[in-house]
Amino acid sequence: MKTTEEIFSVPLTLFPETLQWSNFTGALELAPFWLYMFNSAFTSVCIVVLQVVLSSMIAYALTQLKFRGKSLLFNSILITYMLPAAATYVPSYILLSKMGLLDSLTGIVISNVASVFTIFLLRQAFLQVPKEMIEAARSEGANDFTVLMRVMIPMCKSTIFIASLIGFVSMYNNYLWPSLIVKSQEKYLITVGLNRFFTNVGSFADTWPLIMAANVLTVLPLLLLFVLLNKWFIKGISDNGLKG
């Protein structure tokens, strides 16, 4: 098995006469990767924050409030989880173009804020909050907002953290949908930018070091995040996958 380290070592062992650092500056001169990375990180953070806020609201309603059509709502969400996202691409694309949000970062953020996965995860976590705690808070006169903010969210900190982490990684890595939406260079996300760069400079032997350098730049932030938080990642993935 090879690891991402291979990306570091492979161009070095094969082109040892090339200085590694010049490849990085070379890649950065040909395409504004910092900008792409900023775009990706920025949209991913916005999406994750909105996803968590909206999902915790609906998860709260699904677990704590009584209303008609609750099970219908939950079942609809359950079914959407199983369906390929691709089935929504054409209408969503049309909707974004009607809203004038094609080729904008706002478009990417807005079309991604509904996360069925996060709703599931949070609903599952909210269900495990002991009833006594909620009742105790209510008897002290807490309303729904306070219960959500003061009881549910603090009790489910770790799930929320993991949902954000997974959301961030998948949004940073997302390719197909953003590549449909953004057309102008300065709005490219890193995945789109990287692939355009790859197709533009072509796969000639002498450009491979540059491509690899760009690759390393792309992967670096995620790798750092992963190294720092890898226990959380691994634990979160295995725990939540089985619960869902």
Partner: protein
């Protein structure tokens, strides 16, 4: 009255994006699939089931269906097997080494686009790592991505490499929950390594297996990034899957009617497969 306001807030607001980008598009997509809309012109005709008819009688569709089926089977099964193998190696030989776990898992966090680019280089016919290694061993050196016989295999290799570590995490968790006494009993009765796996490990991780099969199958049907980067569906359509065909119809040819009809077919196929898996799972999944 206050109750409605509350509901409107907690359900209404989150429901807007959910409706706008999930529920409604599903139905709009279904409706579009009965039209001949081309995205640009404001007019369209209702052609009813003609789009479905065109797709179901076209060779492209069956070629893509075959590719998708082949790709799915060839990635899902090895992903599951490697995942279980790595997890049990970690448990029995490496004693749960976190470093190794992270190394095996790290492909999952790297963007598929970045990974596919690195692999494109590995698969290069003359300068790529793989063929240089094969050359050292005096084995045949296929031209991987440009040969329609090997291109799909190249994509399959990348997909397995990316997902095996991910499957391993689930299995590692499942394995750690198997009570040690079960193996001790086996030891007293003198069971072999194979019998241990056959009668203890595999049945006890079967819920994880079902979960992983369903998730990886949905993933495989939706594979796009690696195909786009590495082959663009070529050579000669040999790596064009259903989703790739859909993408080409919708966003290259702007044939929205046929594209949405195809997406409906993909949805039906996915649903059918999930249903069959759930149904047959009663026979081999032990909770």
């Amino acid at each position: 009255m206050k109750r409605y306001g509350l509901l409107l807030f907690f359900v209404g607001i989150p429901l807007i994006p959910l409706l706008a980008f999930w529920f409604i598009p599903m139905f709009v997509s279904l409706w579009l699939s009965t039209t001949d809309w081309d995205y640009i012109s404001p007019e369209y005709n209702h052609v009813m089931l003609e789009n479905y008819q065109t797709i179901l009688t076209s060779d492209n569709f069956y070629a893509a269906l075959k590719n998708t089926a082949f790709f799915s089977v060839m990635t899902v099964i090895p992903t599951i097997i490697f995942g279980l193998l790595f997890a049990s190696l970690l448990k029995n030989v490496m004693k749960g080494s976190t470093l190794l776990k992270s190394l095996l898992f790290s492909p999952w966090i790297t963007p598929m686009v970045a990974m596919s680019i690195v692999w494109t280089w590995i698969f290069q016919p003359d300068i790529g790592l793989l063929n240089q290694l094969l050359g050292l061993l005096h084995l045949p050196q296929p031209s991987w991505l440009t040969d329609s016989n090997t291109a799909m295999w190249a994509i399959i290799i990348v997909s397995i490499w990316k997902n095996a570590g991910w499957a391993m995490i689930f299995y590692a968790d499942a394995l750690s929950k198997i009570p040690g006494e079960l193996y001790e009993v086996g030891e007293i009765e003198g069971t072999s390594w194979w019998q241990n796996n056959r009668f203890i490990t595999i049945p006890l991780v079967s819920p994880t297996t079902l979960f992983l099969i369903i998730i990886s199958l949905i993933d495989a049907i939706q594979a796009y990034d690696q195909i786009q980067v590495m082959t663009q569906g070529g050579p000669a359509g040999s790596t064009r899957t259903l989703l790739y065909l859909y993408y080409q119809m919708a966003f290259e040819q702007f044939n929205m009617g046929q594209a949405t009809a195809l997406s409906t077919i993909i949805v039906i196929l996915t649903g059918l497969l999930a249903f069959i898996l759930f149904y047959t799972s009663k026979k081999w999944v032990h909770y």
